[in-house]
């Protein structure tokens, strides 16, 4: 019974693959920053940062294998922050 509330362990291999993926994505975001993408600069940088964060959250922080409750909590926290962002920008757009 004692082992039931432990997180799943992905294993050395998967962690190492994720780490290499993260390094690769860092290289990609630096390379893309060298190209003038104009208005897409922020969008591409944030998309890549978002993908990297998903890897860290799901694999390194075991969110993928945690109870559903953890994911609901995390979603609520992220959505709350997103609402702060949206409301702030509405305020600016119509000020």
């Amino acid at each position: 019974m004692q082992h039931q509330n432990k997180t799943n362990d992905a294993g050395y291999g998967e962690y190492t693959l994720v780490w290499l993926g993260l390094l690769g994505l860092t290289g990609l975001t630096v390379a893309l920053a060298g190209i003038d993408l104009g208005r897409w600069v922020i969008a591409t940088a944030l998309v890549i940062a978002g993908i990297k964060s998903m890897f860290v959250l799901n694999i390194f922080m075991h969110l993928k294998s945690e109870d559903r409750l953890f994911r609901i909590f995390t979603a609520v926290a992220v959505v709350t922050l997103a609402i702060f962002f949206i409301l702030t920008f509405f305020d600016y757009a119509f000020a």
């Binding site: 004692q2 780490w19 390094l23 945690e66 709350t80």
Partner: protein, 205 residues
């Protein structure tokens, strides 16, 4: 219930411990999130000045520190994987590597900041105050956000240092490692914050 648990009567709720840690991490998310909102609004208002100021940061040091922090996230998760397999020495080595990498991160940060300060770029410096408002705001946010992040790195090093002692004393072991997991969660959050700080400050030229 297993025989060992019945005999020792230990009350343990690893999942509860992790929920507690995650709830704390959400408060951190909101703390840094608030600063990212300030950043977003000012960048929106001073788009070109942010680009000019951002070009003054050293992309190489920023990239190097990103690689260092990502690697330290990997070593800490490997350290947890090792202790789960009962490999105490390997776990301690990986955790030590994490702390060393964190130290290198701070050393780079130190050189980066002292370089900027030597050029007269620091909050309220006469040199900085001559610049346009957007650049003053950019460097104010740069010092505030990377400074608060560096403070988290220092706290993370202290926490992981305690974990190292706990493993050495078998407080953290193959069967009970939720403390190390919580320390790891904190460290990964510090990493995630940097994942966003890096492109937003270093890669906007």
């Amino acid at each position: 219930m297993s025989k060992a648990a019945a005999v020792s009567h230990t009350h343990r709720d690893d999942e509860g411990s992790r929920i507690g840690m995650w709830l704390f991490l959400f408060t951190e998310l909101i703390l840094f999130g608030g600063m990212f909102i300030v950043y977003a609004v000012y960048r929106f208002k001073h788009f070109d000045e942010f680009r000019i100021a951002g070009a003054e940061l050293d992309v190489f040091i920023g990239t190097l520190n990103t690689l260092i922090l990502l690697t330290s996230s990997w070593t800490v998760v490997m350290s947890i994987a090792a202790i789960r397999r009962g490999k105490k020495i390997l776990s301690m080595s990986l955790l030590s590597a994490t702390i060393v990498l964190a130290f290198f991160f701070l050393v780079n940060k130190y050189f980066e900041w002292s370089h900027k300060i030597a050029h007269g770029i620091y909050p309220k410096s006469p040199e900085l105050m001559k610049k346009p408002a957007g650049e003053i705001l950019y460097f104010g946010l740069y010092y505030m956000m990377t400074g608060l992040h560096a403070l988290h790195v220092i706290i993370g090093m202290i926490i992981l240092g305690f974990m190292l002692v706990f493993i050495a004393r078998n407080v953290i072991n193959q069967d009970s490692f939720v403390k190390l997991e919580a320390g790891g969660l904190y460290w990964h959050l510090v990493d995630i914050i940097w994942i966003f700080l890096f492109p937003l400050f270093y890669l906007i030229h």
